[in-house]
């Protein structure tokens, strides 16, 4: 006896989101090729928009002479300090505020009042307090990282499943044990989300800070090239920034997968 086949149309087909990997690559390639063509044909002057090939050549040139690394390392050092200080302070404050009601009462209103201030606006003040050296640049980056970290950590801590906490307590866990073994691990995804947000902010503020009274760094390179109308060098700086952004996002993602293993296996 023949089985009767019924053709069913998948009416949710439009909801499927295919990956289109080829298109992703093509889109990026298309942008670069189009950009190259626009300047090659002389449609746009290469002074105002240097061709990608020129930018690449200039970048290699600067790498060979070592000046690119001087700028890059200076920026990375400032980023590392600012990001490190901001992240540690942000996580500590976030955990404290999330866990202790008294800390919450003290810090919450202060954060609410200071968080909306654009940190770039504080730069002139920081320069007045800390001078035009490294300290003011690191401080502005740290401030920029601190707030998303503190707020995200706080949210992560508050989101810890009460059921898990109660279970831990009923198994005899003490206060510190609960924080360390239940609350912190469950806050980690939010902490990493904060780190990713902070990385973007850190890059933004670093460039702004390096445009005032610096003598090295990617932000300085961009400013100086702009002042000197060396647009190819300027584009090198911008490309390096974009690569830094991609690299930090990728590195934080890798770190997240390594630290929060239970989430990804």
């Amino acid at each position: 006896m023949a089985v009767e086949r019924l053709v069913v149309v998948d009416r949710t087909a439009f909801l499927h989101r295919p990956d289109y990997r080829v298109v992703r690559v093509l889109a990026l390639l298309g942008l670069v090729v189009g950009w190259e063509l626009v300047t090659r044909t002389g449609w746009v002057s290469s002074l105002f928009l240097p061709a990608p090939s020129g930018v690449l050549a200039e970048g290699l040139d600067m790498a060979r002479s070592g000046q690119l690394f001087v700028h890059l390392m200076t920026s990375l050092e400032r980023l590392a300090w600012g990001f490190g200080v901001g992240a540690v302070a942000g996580v500590s404050v976030g955990v404290a505020v999330g866990f202790f009601a008294l800390a919450d009462a003290v810090v919450q209103p202060i954060i609410a009042a200071t968080f909306p201030i654009p940190k770039i606006a504080l730069l002139p003040l920081l320069i007045l307090w800390l001078g035009i050296g490294e300290a003011s640049k690191v401080a502005v980056v740290a401030l920029g990282v601190f707030f998303p970290m503190a707020i995200n950590t706080y949210a992560g801590v508050r989101q810890a499943d009460p059921l898990l906490i109660r279970a831990a307590v009923s198994f005899g866990a003490g206060r510190w044990s609960v924080i360390r073994k239940v609350i912190l691990p469950s806050a980690l995804p939010m902490v990493f989300a904060g780190l990713k947000l902070g990385a973007g902010t850190a890059l933004l503020l670093l460039v702004a800070a390096e445009q005032i009274a610096a003598d090295a760094g990617i932000g300085f390179l961009i400013l100086q090239s702009g002042n000197l109308m060396e647009t190819t060098k300027l584009m090198v700086g911008i490309v390096v920034l974009s690569l830094l952004g991609v690299a930090s996002y990728w590195a934080l993602g890798a770190l997240e997968r390594a630290v929060i293993r239970w989430r990804h296996t």
């Binding site: 005032i212 100086q224 000197l228």
Partner: protein
């Protein structure tokens, strides 16, 4: 009710769009004051005393006399004028010679240095080296004492940067013996001295006088006394340079204005200023166009050639210095960016 609201919306949209356009233009070339005149020759200038010959030419109708309708476009810094000129947004630029300008020509754009628009010259106060009062009291009294100090300038590659570098070299020092701090704007440079973020700054009049008057700064020297050079010139866009008749006509007006300015404000007798009959008029015009007070304008006018002739060899020297210090990749042949034929033809065509 509905109509008013609609009109309000349209107004808002228009305001937003013009706002965006203004921001876009401002980003590219600082803030010009829109005063469109069809067929006018657009001149990019700074609101500084050193723009006086241009202001005199506009005010006294010298450009119009030769059939050129001038339109002033104001900028905040010298380098953006060169950019706007290369981009074809201006016909004439009248401002300082920066590394940016040379790099624009090096980058393949065309513009022409055509006439003198101000020199750093002994006896004519323009830019000063101002040191912090405390440093002065502590014994910072000569160029040699600047070794190891932080010196504030507006931008790297600016005329100030060039000037301090050459002054240092004259006294056996080098740019690398000091720390040059770029502070972007003149007001910020003065503030940095006031806030003791830097030990010395280079700023043009009237800032040095103001710093001394307020007591936080001391004028170490007038930069032009230590190292004279061709700091500012008149530039033509390539478009204007190929429009020979208009280019020469503009230059005739400019040379006439330059002579008027020179005779009124620059003549010296036995090392002392001997002002001409039109001095007060030139001061008044300059004060009105720059928005500065009369007594500030009277502090001094920068020197320039009476006929607007360039110090051509200095252009070559400037490029060599920028190259030697790593702010330019290579020097350009003079014929790629200097054209003195306009000023020569104009001088020949005018009597006196």
């Amino acid at each position: 009710m509905f109509l008013t609201r609609l009109r309000g919306l349209v107004a808002l949209a228009v305001a937003l769009m013009t706002g965006l356009a203004v921001v876009a233009i401002a980003g590219a070339q600082s803030t010009p004051v829109p005063r469109p005149v069809p067929g006018a020759t657009k001149i990019g200038v700074l609101k500084l005393t050193s723009s006086a010959p241009i202001f005199v030419g506009v005010e006294k109708g010298f450009f119009k006399e030769f059939g050129v309708e001038p339109e002033l476009v104001y900028f905040q810094a010298a380098a953006p004028i060169a950019t706007a000129l290369a981009a074809g947004q201006l016909d004439v630029g009248a401002t300082g010679l920066t590394a940016a300008l040379y790099n624009i020509v090096l980058g393949g754009e065309k513009l022409w240095i055509v006439a003198d628009k101000g020199r750093e010259w002994p006896g004519y106060p323009l830019v000063a080296i101002v040191v912090q009062k405390e440093a002065w009291d502590g014994g910072l009294r000569s160029i040699k004492d600047l070794k190891g100090k932080r010196i504030g300038v507006t931008q790297l590659g600016s005329t100030f940067h060039y000037h301090i570098g050459n002054i240092l070299e004259k006294d056996g020092l080098h740019l690398s013996d000091v720390k040059i701090v770029p502070l972007q704007a003149m007001a910020a440079t003065v503030e940095a001295l006031k806030g003791k973020q830097v030990d010395a700054i280079l700023v043009p009049q009237p800032f040095p006088g103001a710093a001394e008057a307020q007591g936080f700064g001391k004028i170490l020297a007038w930069a032009g006394d230590l190292y004279p050079w061709q700091i500012a010139t008149v530039f033509y866009s390539d478009k204007l340079a190929t429009d020979r008749a208009r280019a020469v006509a503009f230059m005739k007006g400019y040379v006439k204005a330059s002579r008027y300015y020179f005779d009124a404000a620059l003549v010296q007798k036995d090392g002392r200023a001997a002002h001409g009959a039109n001095y007060d008029e030139v001061v008044e015009i300059t004060a009105r166009y720059t928005g500065a007070r009369l007594e500030i304008i009277k502090l001094g006018f920068p020197f320039q050639d009476r006929n607007g002739r360039l110090l051509v060899p200095d252009i070559e020297r400037q490029m060599s210095w920028w190259v030697a210090n790593g702010f330019m990749k290579k020097t350009l042949p003079l014929k790629a960016l200097v054209d003195t034929s306009f000023v020569e033809e104009a001088v020949k065509g005018l009597d006196r």
